[in-house]
Amino acid sequence: MSVLLIAEHDNTKLKPFTLNAIFAASKIDGEVHVLVAGTNCENVTKEVASIPLVKKVLWCESPNYQNYLPENLAPLVTKTAEKYDHIVASANTFGKNFMPRVAAALDISQVSDIIKVSSPDTFVRPIYAGNAFATVKSNDKKKCVTIRPTSFEPAEKTGGSAQVEKIEPVDVPNISKFIKREETKSERPELGTARIVVSGGRGLESGENFKLITDIADKLNAAVGASRAAVDAGYISNDHQVGQTGKVVVPDLYIAVGISGAIQHLAGMKESKIIVAINKDGEAPIFNIADYGLEADLFKALPEFLAELNKLNTIQK
């Protein structure tokens, strides 16, 4: 029994969610092997080898894997999977994109977005935007599983020394081409892993007004989130969206400002440890799940909030 985990990286550094996936994989089986496929990605293999939970690193070099085109990556994973019982990746846009191709090629029914490992074949996953939890058992011989990174803690990064084994690339079909990636560059912490998230909704009324949110975020060293309404209205870019069709976040503190609390938004944040809601409508559903609710006009409350925070000197960087 052993687990094949597919690492997500940018060819120089490992993406943080892979650590959570490794932790989850170790709950399935202790023998976790990690596939690092990419171009000039030797540094990533070293990073992975030092993770104590990793027992072996499989390193595959080819320009064809540089941008994770699923048409190219899936055949490599499918071939490598021959020797494994479980194939695991994060349930983010990386894992969601290629894993079903692997599952289909192996004639396996994939178990998506698990939040708990009950046993090597039984998992818990949210359905209906997290309004129900289903416990499911996979009866396939091999199992393809994607894990919800925020439901598992990250694996320790240092102290291990796994063996690195080079493997050969496989043929690619040449039916797809990467053109470009426009990443939103930001000095702020990543939304998925931030300790504090400050999110704005339609109540902000414009992109300029989002400065009220970003000022607070910068003061708290927090990530910035948004409702779908705010993204659709163009106040902020899509990578900030929290919810069923956006990102799932589980910070220590989630501050929802001018967000009504639709179930699709709650699906992405209701597991946060502490939830604060600032909304001028006392009946807004967000107050039903908020630990601390402030019924107020955000245009008045946010500047006051910033002023109060400036009085505190204890904010952790």
Partner: protein, 249 residues
């Protein structure tokens, strides 16, 4: 060119679902159903491409019980030309749905298959990618922009880091994000006209496929509920609570 667009009938997104007491699933009797929201975007985009003249025919397909035809009729009212209903009375996993879609693709020979990026009930996010793998076609998932060319399609995808542009050869599978377009409402005359459009009916059982489900549902439970919190009077109290009570500042 020809597009096959897959529509799934799901519990309406506004419904607060209720888990059955015996843990066997969620209540679906007398619950409002509608087309899975991103599937509306898939239909809209297909019809827009037809209106632009680049696409000649749009075929809408749904797999499910008889009522799945409602989702097909809706697609026909928006502008699809023909419907295919594959009858299946019990649930079929994405792997099985993808096998059925592959069978239909082999018969209909579309240049593209459009789907929603995920179904909002199971949130599996698999069907399109599985279908693409089975057909050995390229895929474009989470699509928010489509630029159809002669032999390929250029796609902007919504990814965790921002946006990605790719170009895939035709034939291809495209899974649609909610931001791809603004689905229109069907007009009454078009709803009437849709009733006369052809609807082919097949039975999933008759397709000669192995559709056995591999995933066994053990139980469905309510998630733990959050305790209702308190309302604070002003910003100063909020900050004081966050610092001294919740200890998160």
């Amino acid at each position: 060119m020809k597009i096959l667009v897959a529509v799934k009938r799901v519990i309406d997104y506004n419904v607060q679902i209720r888990v059955k007491e015996d843990g066997s699933g969620v209540h679906t009797d007398n619950v409002k159903m509608s087309t899975n929201p991103p599937d509306d975007n898939a239909v809209e985009e297909s019809v827009k491409l037809k209106e632009s003249g680049k696409v000649k025919e749009v075929v809408a397909i749904s797999i499910g019980e008889d009522k799945a035809q409602e989702s097909i009729r809706k697609a026909l009212a928006i502008g699809a030309d023909k419907g295919i209903h594959v009858k299946a009375d019990s649930y079929i996993e994405p792997l099985g749905i993808a096998k059925i879609l592959k069978k239909i693709v082999e018969k209909e020979k579309p240049d593209m298959v459009f789907l929603g990026k995920q179904a909002i009930d199971d949130d599996c996010n698999q069907t399109g990618q599985m279908l693409a793998a089975m057909l050995k076609w390229p895929q474009a998932t989470f699509t928010s922009k489509v630029n159809l060319k002669d032999k390929s399609v250029e796609i902007v995808r919504e990814i965790d880091e921002g946006l990605e542009t790719i170009e895939v050869n035709l034939p291809a599978v495209v899974s649609c994000d909610l931001r791809l377009n603004e689905p229109r409402f069907a007009s009454l005359p078009n709803i009437m006209k849709a009733k006369k459009k052809p609807m082919e009916q097949l039975n999933a059982k008759d397709l000669g496929l192995d559709l056995t489900n591999r995933i066994q549902q053990i139980k469905v439970e309510e998630p733990p509920r959050r305790k209702a919190g308190i309302k604070v009077a002003n910003v100063a109290e909020l900050v004081s609570k966050l610092k001294n009570e919740a200890k998160v500042l």
